[in-house]
Structures are given as structure tokens and as C-alpha cells.
């Protein structure tokens, strides 16, 4: 049954214009962003846009834009089911509430992988063009695998927050607005406000969801070579030298947030009438 439900999700996603609009728009933004890097690199042979150095740009902080798009698409796909009453009809037709929610849960890794994949595909193609054929052994290694894993988890975090908003608010527009407000400034305002009122809370407030997911978005934390290059560049240009973080607590924190958000979303969804 869950297989049928997921195939249904695929069909709905494939035929939904919003899917192609978000994917197209993100591809365009990614292309514009990386092509700029690519063009600049061609002017300066000392700083080529090629593997493995190009991973810093490909998996740079701009990847968060992909997770924003993934979250927006997820909200559009899930929350609309409540407006159209198809969430209710799906259950009447024979899906259990658990199966319905599980099919939506499967969209989280799918959308995260899709938007992460677009960034890698577009950036990878450009970097490949600039990479010496004899140098392909350094294309992809453990640092890149770790970075992808961490960023995938971060993507799951943002989309699980989106799923929570979609099932709790049950309306695309307000759910997107609340998600974006929380992502862009809500969490920072809350942390700032509470932190100034209750100083003892500050260490806890560093573990709010978006702050936690953000820690996993920094590629140089996964790649010692890239970290060294970034530190040297910062020292050379009298900028703040980056700090090497221990990622394990952030990974654990993000994983806990993903579990908590999807679980609370599920309980909330199950408790309410359709």
C-alpha cells in the first residue's frame, strides 16, 4: 500500500506545474551563480574552477537556497491536499493516516536529493570542463562524501520543518509564510530576545532547528584542504580566520530535530479530524 501511495506522490509531483517551476527556477539561479564563478576562474589560471577545488563553490552555502526551494515545493505538495480535501479523500479511499503521512515523509529525502543533485549536476558539469583529464582521481573523496551526508541531513531538517508547517497549518500560503519567517528571522529574533532576557538560556538557544541545520552547510568544515586554503586566504586578506567545528554534535542535533519535527507533525496530523 505504501508503495502505491508513493507512486501516487510521484505522479502528482510529476504533473504538478509547481514542481517544474521550482526546479527550473533553482536550476537557473544555480547556473547563474556558478557560471559567474566559472567565468571569473577562466580569467585567472591560478584559481581555476576545477575539481577538487570547485567543490567549495558547488557545495557552498548557496546550497541553502536549494533547501528553501525544496521546502517551498514540499509545502505546496502537502498543504494543498488539505485545501483540496484530497488528504481526506485519500483516507476515505483506503489509505490509513499512517500510510498517507509516510508517503509524504518519503518526499523529504527525494526533494532534498533532487535539489542537491541539481547543484552538483550544474556545478559538476562546469568544473568537469575545467578539470585536467589526468586529475580525475581527485574528483570525489571522503571529504565530499561527508559534506554531502551532512548537507543532506541539513536538507532533511529544513524540509521536515516545512512538512511540520504544512500539516499543522494545512494551507499553502500561510504555511510558506510561517516557514520562511522562521527561517529568515523568526528563530534569530526568538534566540536574541530570550537570550538577552535569560542569559542562562543562551547555550540551549544555539540548538534551535535552523541554527543547528546551518552548521551543517559549511563545506570547509568537511574538507581539511579546503579549510586550510580558506584559512590562508583569510589570513592573507586580514579577514576572520574560520574556526574548525566539531560536527558530530550538530549532526546529532539535526537528526534529533528531524525526528522530533516529523513525529510532532505526525501526532498533530493524526489527532485532528480531516
Amino acid at each position: 500500500m505504501i508503495g502505491a501511495a508513493f507512486r501516487g506522490e510521484m505522479r502528482k509531483m510529476w504533473k504538478r506545474p509547481a514542481t517544474w517551476v521550482t526546479l527550473g527556477l533553482f536550476s537557473l539561479i544555480t547556473f547563474a551563480d556558478l557560471f559567474d564563478e566559472f567565468r571569473e576562474a577562466r580569467k585567472d589560471p591560478a584559481d581555476p574552477f576545477s575539481f577538487p577545488e570547485a567543490w567549495v563553490q558547488i557545495l557552498g552555502e548557496e546550497i541553502v537556497i536549494g533547501f528553501v526551494f525544496a521546502s517551498v515545493l514540499l509545502i505546496l505538495l502537502v498543504a494543498a491536499e488539505f485545501s483540496w480535501r484530497t488528504a481526506r479523500q485519500n483516507v476515505i479511499d483506503g489509505l490509513s493516516k499512517t500510510q498517507w503521512y509516510s508517503a509524504k515523509l518519503l518526499l523529504l529525502p527525494l526533494l532534498t536529493a533532487l535539489f542537491l543533485g541539481i547543484r552538483i549536476l550544474v556545478g559538476g558539469a562546469m568544473a568537469w570542463a575545467g578539470t585536467d583529464a589526468a586529475n580525475t582521481a581527485t574528483l570525489f573523496g571522503l571529504p565530499q562524501l561527508s559534506a554531502l551526508g551532512g548537507m543532506f541531513l541539513a536538507g532533511l531538517g529544513y524540509t521536515s520543518l516545512a512538512l511540520f508547517m504544512a500539516t499543522a497549518i494545512r494551507n499553502s500560503g500561510p504555511a510558506m509564510a510561517v516557514w520562511f519567517a522562521w527561517f529568515a528571522f523568526g528563530e534569530r529574533l526568538l534566540a536574541g530576545g530570550l537570550g538577552s532576557l535569560f542569559e542562562g538560556l543562551r547555550p540551549v538557544l544555539r540548538w534551535l532547528p535552523v541554527t543547528t541545520f546551518n552548521r551543517l552547510d559549511d563545506y570547509i568544515q568537511y574538507d581539511p584542504d579546503a579549510f586550510r586554503r580558506a584559512s590562508e586566504w583569510a589570513a592573507e586578506h586580514e579577514r576572520t580566520v574560520p574556526e574548525l567545528q566539531t560536527l558530530r554534535p550538530a549532526i546529532l542535533g539535526a537528526a534529533l530535530w528531524v525526528c522530533a519535527l516529523t513525529l510532532i507533525g505526525w501526532l498533530w496530523y493524526r489527532r485532528r479530524d480531516l
Partner: protein
């Protein structure tokens, strides 16, 4: 879940649903036996849709319980849904998908094949428009698609919530034919409607719901088998008020150019003598069949119904009869 042959398909026990302090369904109990075409009749806001929502498990009851195919646990309800085809309120589909794609989604859940989709599309006459997007459909086409979706997988119980809403008289007739045919094939049908004539012409049994309570339930034959007195007079207003005062009259009302009344004793001669004693001369007096509308008036204590099928506000049915809609009952 094993079901004995004589187990009712639907059983409800003092089922209640309150929204804050407002009761939507206020302690209803009824049974629907296998093979019945059960009309659930009531004005808008009477609690019909809430009752169906409760039966389908998408609304949680405040009190009371129900059984579908004899089972009452959550697991029973889930397996019962595999044997049910149902629509609730409006046809609920994905607007950007075609009719066929929408049915594919439903068929996937029900484990049905492409042939089955073609079959139900043909039954409701949507085969040619199956590729059109749902959002481009007229309300009538949407209702047909919803009916097609309920028929997917040949379910044992079909629950329809106001299936004639938005249909023109021809569409209503076609839907009625489909429901009749399903009933003849032995399907159990639970039909919620506020159209008296639709229920009377389609159903074998009826429950009348008013303000969240069932005020009458019986077979259509029993409801309509009692005779009522039909009277005509030159002074119709005088006749109407006199009959209303007649001690043995359970109820009375005007029906077209005559007055009808149900009598405790059924004695037409005594009624005629009583009217003559009051100076009312009756030009016509006969025993007539009681209609579902009469039963509704008696059960709800209503004095009139809004008759959309009759002049000046009405719409005539295609077979010459009128579609009677119930207005708000005082």
C-alpha cells in the same frame, strides 16, 4: 475480519459529535442491512455529512460508537474502508490532474487496474472527457467522476453524499439510474440527500435526520403505504383550517389544490360529517397514498417545505415529477 451473513453493514449506537458546545450529531442510532439502498434525508445542516464523516473515521465521535461490517476497532475500520466506495461533500480531486489520472491515484490505493478505470468511466459517461483536467470540468462532470471513483473496485458499500448536487435534471436522472442499478446488483448504498423525491424514487429505506437527531426511520414502502385523506372544496382556506382542528387528524396540510390529512381512525365518513357540521362542503374526498414528504412533515413537525420543483421557484423533473428540496425546518 469475519462477517456473518446477517450482520448489518452499518450500525451506530448513540453516536454524537459536538463542536465546542454545538451538537452536530446528537445521539443517532440506526442500522443499514446488506443490500439496502438507504436514504439519509435531512435539510442542509442537519448533520448528514458529519454522520458520514464519523462512519468513515475521518471525524472522531464525541460519544457513542459504530460498526462497519460488524467491526469497530481502528484496524477493523481500516479494512472496512477497502470494502467501501465513498464521497464526502464535494468531489475531492487534484485540480491539475486529468479525470483519468485522478482515478489512477484512487485505483492505486485500491489496487485496481486500468481496465477497471475504463469501465467506471464508461458507466458514468466520462470516457471521452477522461483526459480533460479536473479543474475544467463542470460540477456535473465532477459529480460523475466522484461516482466513478466510488465504484472503483466494485465495493460492497457505497456511500454518497448529495450526489445530485449541481446536476441538471437529465444528469440527476442518470445518476438515479446508476444508483438503482447498483442497488439491483445487491450493493448496499447509503445515500445522503436533501431531495425528498430523489430519496423516494431511489431508496428502499430512509432515515430522516433533523438537527442532529433521527426523527424517523423505516422502509420507503412502510413510510408511504399508509393512506391519507385527500379533500377538495370551493373554500380551500376554510377547509384547511377546519381539517387542522379535526380531533382525529394527526397532521394536515395543503397539497396543490386540495388538503391532505392523516387520520387516527381512517374514518373518512366521520371527517366528512364533522366538516359538514361546520359548514364546509367537500367536493372531493378520497384515500390517497402518503408521500415521503408527508412522512417528513409528520416526523419533523414542519408546516411546509420549500418545493424547488414547483412553480413559482421550481424546476421540473424530467419524468414529470418535481424535485422537492427541504427548506429549513422550523
Amino acid at each position: 475480519m469475519t462477517i456473518e451473513a446477517d450482520t448489518p453493514v452499518i450500525q451506530t449506537y448513540d453516536l454524537k459529535k459536538r463542536y465546542r458546545k454545538t451538537p452536530a450529531v446528537d445521539g443517532i442510532s440506526f442500522e443499514v442491512e446488506s443490500g439496502q439502498v438507504f436514504g439519509f434525508l435531512g435539510p442542509n445542516g442537519a448533520g448528514k455529512t458529519t454522520t458520514i464523516g464519523l462512519l468513515l473515521g475521518i471525524i472522531t465521535p464525541t460519544e457513542g460508537s459504530f460498526r462497519l461490517f460488524g467491526g469497530e476497532t481502528a484496524a477493523d475500520l481500516h479494512s472496512a474502508r477497502q470494502r467501501i466506495g465513498a464521497t464526502l461533500e464535494h468531489p475531492n480531486f487534484y485540480p491539475y490532474l486529468s479525470g483519468r489520472d485522478n482515478l489512477r491515484i484512487v485505483a492505486g490505493v485500491k489496487g485496481e487496474t486500468r481496465n477497471e478505470i475504463d469501465r467506471v468511466l464508461d458507466v458514468v459517461g466520462l470516457g471521452r472527457r477522461a483526459k480533460g483536467k479536473f479543474k475544467t470540468y463542470s460540477l456535473g462532470m465532477k459529480q460523475r467522476l466522484a461516482l466513478a471513483a466510488t465504484m472503483l473496485g466494485d465495493p460492497e458499500l457505497i456511500i454518497l453524499d448529495e450526489p445530485a448536487n449541481g446536476l441538471d435534471p437529465e444528469g440527476m436522472r442518470e445518476i438515479r439510474e446508476i444508483i438503482r442499478e447498483l442497488g439491483q446488483r445487491g450493493k448496499t448504498i447509503f445515500l445522503s440527500s436533501h431531495l425528498l423525491s430523489e430519496v423516494e424514487r431511489t431508496c428502499t429505506h430512509v432515515a430522516i435526520i433533523q438537527q442532529g437527531r433521527i426523527v424517523k426511520q423505516d422502509s420507503i414502502v412502510d413510510v408511504t403505504s399508509h393512506g391519507v385523506a385527500g379533500l377538495r372544496s370551493a373554500d380551500l382556506n376554510g377547509l384547511e383550517s377546519a381539517v387542522a382542528e379535526y380531533p382525529a387528524a394527526r397532521w394536515s396540510r395543503r397539497r396543490g389544490d386540495r388538503v391532505v390529512a392523516e387520520l387516527d381512525d381512517g374514518d373518512l365518513g366521520a371527517l366528512n360529517a364533522w366538516l359538514a357540521g361546520r359548514g364546509i362542503h367537500v367536493s372531493h374526498l378520497s384515500l390517497e397514498a402518503r408521500t415521503l414528504e408527508d412522512a417528513f412533515m409528520e416526523a419533523t413537525g414542519a408546516t411546509e417545505t420549500t418545493e424547488a420543483g414547483e412553480a413559482p421557484t421550481g424546476r421540473a423533473g424530467t419524468d414529470g415529477r418535481s424535485e422537492h428540496r427541504m427548506g429549513e425546518v422550523p
